[in-house]
C-alpha cells in the first residue's frame, strides 16, 4: 500500500508512572486508509501509548504531529477535535442511558436543547455507510457486548474521527463476531480512515493489519511491513524477545474425583444464570473453562468457592456434599481460590500485605486463638512466603496496593498453595502479567498437578488453556456447551463451542 503523508505521527513518546517506565522513546505513525497493528504482550505499554495519543495521560517527553503539524493533546476533548476516536478495552458507556444519549454526550445542543433529530439522522447515515446498525432508543444495558462495542465505534465516527484506535477489541468477542468487526474495519479503512488495532493475538494482527509496530517493555521492539506474509514465530520473537517455549506438560494420571458439580443452577439474581452445570475435576488434572467473558464463568467460580449458593444441583468436594457450605467451610475442606480480580476480590490494598496473605485463614489456629490474633505467626508466615515465592516488596507490612501485579498474583498464589489445597480454582491467572511471571505461575500449577491437586483454570486466552490444561470445557450462556480433551481441541473447535454453534460434545 502506498504511504501518503501520515495522519498521525508520534515521536519519542516517553511516559512513566512512578518508577515504572510505561513508554520510552516510542515512534509510531499511521497513514489515511491504513490499519496499523500495535502488537505487544500485556504490560508492554500499548494502552499507555494510546492513552497518551487520546489525551488521557500527558507524556513526559515526545511530540505528536497531526497531518504534519505539531499538536498539543492534553485532554480527550483535544483528541476528539483533532479527529482521534478511541474504543477502550473497558467501554466508556453509561449503562442506564440510551444509545442516543451516549452518542450525544458532549455534543452541543440546538437552541439549548439536546439535538435528538440531528443525532438520529447522523446515526442513520453512519449505520448506512458502514453497516453498523443500532436501536437508538434502547438503554445500553440492554445491548450485547458486541453491540456495545459497535456503539463505541459509532460514537467515534459520530464525532468525525479520522483515526480510530481500538484497544484489544476482540477480547470480548466470540470468533464469529470478530469477522463482523474486521469487515467493518476494512470498510472504514477503504474510505480513508486510519485505524490503530491493538492486540496481542498474532493471528488477528496478521489477518487484518497492513503494517505493524511491536512494543516490548515500553519500547519499539520492531516493525513489520507485511504482517500477512510474516510468520507468527518471527512476530512472537519480536514481541517476547525470545521464542516462546511452552512449559512441558507431562502426561496426566488423573486420580479420584476431587470436585464434582451435578446439575448446578442459579437463579437470575445477579449476573449470568447458571444452567445445569455438571463437571468433574480429578486429582492431578487441570480442567480449563473457556468461553467469551460474561457467559457465567464468574458465577461458576462463586458457586464453587461458596460465595454464592446454587438454587439447584449438588456440589461435592472429595465426596462430601458442600452445596450449602460457606466460603470458610469449603476452604476448610481443601479448596483454594485465586480470584479473577486481584484488586477487588483478592486483596485489601490499603492494609499490609501480610493481612491479605492470611485473610482467608484468619480464624484458623495457625493465625489466631480464642479470638486473639497471633501477630508474630502472621508476620512469619508472610515473610516465609515472600522468600519462597520471591515476592518483590520491602516487607510483609508494606501496603499491598504498592506491589506490582505480578508480585500480587504470586502473593495470592502463595497464600493458597501454602495450605496444599485438594482443589484449586483460578480465574484469569496471568492476565496483565509479563511473560516471566506468567511462566512462573504456569509452572506452579503443573507442580500442583503433579502433587495430585485438581485445578480449574477459567480463562479467555485459548492458546494458554490449550498449553496448560488436560481437558477444556466451554461455557456458553450459563451452561457447558462441550468438553474436549486438549489433544483433540483446536482454537477453531473451541471457537465454535464458544458461540453456541456446536452442541453438547
Amino acid at each position: 500500500m502506498p504511504t501518503p503523508a501520515p495522519l498521525i505521527e508520534m515521536r519519542g513518546i516517553t511516559k512513566s508512572f512512578g518508577a515504572v517506565k510505561a513508554n520510552e522513546a516510542v515512534d509510531l505513525s499511521v497513514a489515511p486508509g491504513e490499519i496499523l497493528g500495535l502488537l505487544g504482550e500485556n504490560g508492554a505499554g500499548k494502552t499507555t501509548l494510546m492513552n497518551v495519543l487520546f489525551g488521557a495521560y500527558a507524556p513526559d517527553a515526545g511530540e505528536i504531529l497531526i497531518q504534519g503539524q505539531p499538536a498539543r493533546i492534553s485532554s480527550s476533548a483535544d483528541a476528539l477535535a483533532a479527529g482521534i476516536g478511541m474504543v477502550h478495552q473497558h467501554f466508556h458507556l453509561a449503562a442506564r442511558l440510551t444509545v442516543l444519549e451516549n452518542l450525544l454526550i458532549g455534543i452541543p445542543g440546538k437552541s439549548g436543547r439536546i439535538d435528538r433529530a440531528g443525532g438520529l439522522a447522523r446515526l442513520a447515515e453512519i449505520s448506512r455507510q458502514h453497516g453498523l446498525t443500532l436501536d437508538p432508543s434502547l438503554p445500553v444495558s440492554a445491548l450485547s457486548v458486541g453491540e456495545q462495542q459497535r456503539l463505541e465505534i459509532v460514537k467515534a465516527l459520530f464525532r468525525g474521527a479520522r483515526l480510530l484506535i481500538l484497544d484489544e477489541p476482540t477480547a470480548v468477542l466470540a470468533p464469529s463476531e470478530v469477522d463482523g468487526l474486521f469487515s467493518a474495519l476494512r470498510s472504514m479503512a477503504a474510505q480513508g480512515l486510519g485505524i490503530i488495532f491493538i492486540s496481542h493475538k498474532l493471528n488477528e494482527v496478521r489477518a487484518l493489519t497492513h503494517r505493524c509496530t511491536v512494543l516490548r517493555h515500553g519500547r519499539v521492539a520492531g516493525r513489520v511491513d507485511d504482517p500477512a506474509n510474516t510468520t507468527s514465530a518471527a512476530m512472537a520473537e519480536l514481541m517476547c524477545g525470545h521464542e516462546i517455549v511452552p512449559p512441558a506438560r507431562g502426561p496426566s494420571t488423573p486420580g479420584e474425583a476431587v470436585l464434582a458439580l451435578d446439575g448446578i443452577s442459579t437463579s437470575k439474581h445477579s449476573g449470568t444464570t447458571l444452567r445445569h452445570i455438571s463437571l468433574v475435576v480429578r486429582a492431578g488434572e487441570i480442567l480449563g473453562i473457556a468461553g467469551v467473558s460474561g457467559n457465567g464463568q464468574r458465577a461458576l467460580a462463586e458457586v464453587i468457592s461458596g460465595v454464592r449458593a446454587p438454587d439447584a444441583g449438588r456440589m461435592t468436594i472429595a465426596g462430601q456434599n458442600v452445596s450449602r457450605f460457606s466460603p470458610r467451610e469449603v476452604q476448610a475442606l481443601g479448596l483454594g481460590r485465586i480470584p479473577e480480580d486481584r484488586m477487588t476480590t483478592g486483596l485489601v490494598t490499603n492494609l499490609p500485605l501480610a493481612d491479605s496473605m492470611v485473610l482467608p485463614r484468619i480464624g484458623t489456629a495457625a493465625f489466631s486463638a480464642r479470638g486473639l490474633l497471633k501477630p508474630d505467626a502472621i508476620r512469619a508466615f508472610a515473610e516465609e512466603q515472600i522468600k519462597a515465592y520471591d515476592i518483590r516488596c520491602p516487607g510483609p507490612m508494606t501496603r499491598a496496593g504498592a506491589l506490582s501485579g505480578g508480585n500480587l498474583q504470586k502473593a495470592l498464589l502463595a497464600r493458597e498453595l501454602a495450605f496444599d489445597p485438594k482443589v484449586l480454582i483460578v480465574s484469569q491467572p496471568t492476565r496483565g502479567l509479563d511473560i516471566g511471571a506468567a511462566r512462573f505461575i504456569h509452572e506452579k500449577f503443573l507442580d500442583m498437578r503433579a502433587k495430585g491437586c485438581g485445578i480449574i483454570v477459567i480463562g479467555e486466552d485459548l492458546e494458554e488453556l490449550l498449553v496448560l490444561c488436560d481437558r477444556i470445557a466451554v461455557m456458553y450462556e450459563g451452561h457447558i456447551a462441550g468438553t474436549l480433551d486438549s489433544a483433540d481441541a483446536t482454537v477453531a473447535r473451541l471457537g465454535l463451542l464458544m458461540t453456541g454453534v456446536e452442541g453438547r460434545g
Binding site: 513526559d60 485489601v348 490494598t349 492494609l351 485473610l359 490474633l373
Partner: protein
C-alpha cells in the same frame, strides 16, 4: 501545574504531624472570625487556653468534658473502620442516658447501680445503632441517612419522656427525676468534678485499640471496611461483622450518655448533650480512626469548648466559635489526610 501523585508508603511521623497541622490551620483560619468580632486574636486564644488547660482545675473540667467525646469518638472510629457510617452517636448517647437514668433511680447498692447503669446504657445505645445497621444489611437503606433521622426520633422520644411521665411535678421543669445519690459516680479529686466515668473513658481507648489491632473481630472489621468484596471472598461474614460493629459502636456511644448522667448531671434534660455525638465524628477523624488518638483529639475539642465559653465572657466573641472550630478542624484534617495517600508534585509544561 501541580499534580497529586500516589504515595507507596506513609512516613510514621505523619500520624502526629497531620492532626497538628490541621489544628494549626484551623486556628489560623478561625482567627479571622475573632478579628471580625473586634477582639484580639492572641488574647482570645490565650483566654481559651488558660481557661481550659491553664491550671489543674481547668484541666479537670476539660477532662470531664472530654470523657463523653472519647466515648463517641471511639464509637465513630470503630464504625468508620468498618465503613459503617454511624452518624447516629448523638441519638445513641441520648438513649444510653435515658436508660442509665432509669436504672439509677432504682434504689440499690451504689456499685451495683453503677454497673447496671453502664450495662443498661450500653445496651440501649447498641439497640439504637442496630437499627440503621439492620436496615442497611436487610433493606439496603443508606446508613448515613437512617442514623441521622434516628437522632431526631430519639430526641423527640426523650422530650416526650421528660415532658410527660418524668416531668418534675413540683417545678414543672422538663427534667427527669434525679438518680439515687448512691448511684452518683464517685469524684476522684476533692473539689473537682473529675468522676469515675472519666477514668472509664481513658481506659476504654486502649481496650478498643487492642480490640481493633489484636483480635480477629478487629481484623474482620478492618478488612470489611477496606474491601468488603475481598472480605466476602475470604470467608468473612460481612453482614455479621457490620452488625457486630454497630453493636459495639452503639454501646460506646451509649456509655457517653451513662457518664453524663452518672457523673455530671445526675438526671436527664433536653440539652444533656451539646452535640457530643457529632463532635465524635470530628474526634475520630482527627485521630485518624486510631482509638489511641481519640483521647488527645477529644481533649483538644473539650478544651476548645471549655475555653470558648471563658473567651466569650472575657472578650465578647460569641462562644459559637467552638462550633466553627470543630467544623473547620474536620475539613482541615480531611485535606491533611490527602498527604498520607498522595504527594504534591510540580509538573512542568509538557514539551
Amino acid at each position: 501545574m501541580f499534580r497529586l501523585e500516589a504515595r507507596t508508603s506513609t512516613p510514621a511521623w505523619f500520624n502526629l504531624a497531620l492532626p497538628l497541622l490541621a489544628i494549626a490551620a484551623t486556628l489560623v483560619l478561625c482567627s479571622g472570625l475573632i478579628a471580625l468580632a473586634g477582639a484580639g486574636v492572641f488574647e482570645s486564644y490565650g483566654v481559651m487556653f488558660a481557661a481550659s488547660l491553664g491550671d489543674s482545675y481547668a484541666i479537670t473540667e476539660t477532662l470531664v468534658r472530654a470523657a463523653p467525646m472519647i466515648f463517641t469518638g471511639l464509637a465513630v472510629a470503630v464504625a468508620f473502620r468498618a465503613k459503617f457510617w454511624n452518624i447516629g452517636a448523638e441519638g445513641q448517647l441520648l438513649a444510653g442516658a435515658v436508660a442509665s437514668c432509669f436504672v439509677g433511680a432504682i434504689p440499690m447498692p451504689g456499685p451495683l447501680a453503677m454497673l447496671l447503669m453502664a450495662l443498661a446504657g450500653a445496651a440501649a445505645g447498641a439497640a439504637v445503632a442496630l437499627v440503621p445497621a439492620t436496615l442497611r444489611v436487610k433493606f439496603k437503606v443508606d446508613d448515613v441517612v437512617s442514623s441521622l433521622l434516628l437522632n431526631s426520633v430519639i430526641y423527640y422520644a426523650l422530650m416526650a419522656l421528660i415532658e410527660g411521665p418524668w416531668k418534675d411535678s413540683f417545678s414543672g421543669y422538663p427534667i427527669s427525676p434525679p438518680i439515687e445519690d448512691s448511684a452518683n459516680f464517685p469524684v476522684l479529686i476533692e473539689g473537682t468534678r473529675l468522676h469515675l466515668g472519666v477514668i472509664a473513658a481513658l481506659v476504654a481507648a486502649p481496650l478498643i485499640w487492642f480490640l481493633i489491632v489484636r483480635t480477629t473481630l478487629g481484623f474482620r472489621i478492618r478488612v470489611t471496611g477496606e474491601n468488603p468484596e475481598a472480605a466476602r471472598y475470604g470467608g468473612i461474614h460481612v453482614q455479621r461483622v457490620l452488625l457486630s460493629t454497630a453493636l459495639l459502636s452503639g454501646a460506646l456511644a451509649g456509655l457517653a450518655g451513662v457518664g453524663e448522667v452518672g457523673g455530671v448531671h445526675f438526671q436527664v434534660m433536653s440539652d444533656i448533650s451539646p452535640g457530643y455525638g457529632y463532635s465524635g465524628i470530628v474526634v475520630a477523624m482527627l485521630a485518624r480512626l486510631n482509638p489511641l488518638g481519640v483521647v488527645p483529639a477529644a481533649i483538644f475539642l473539650a478544651a476548645v469548648m471549655t475555653g470558648a465559653e471563658a473567651m466569650s465572657r472575657a472578650t465578647g466573641v460569641p462562644a459559637f466559635l467552638s462550633d466553627v472550630i470543630q467544623g473547620t478542624a474536620l475539613l482541615a484534617m480531611l485535606v491533611a489526610l490527602l498527604f498520607t495517600a498522595y504527594r504534591i508534585r510540580r509538573v512542568g509544561a509538557v514539551q
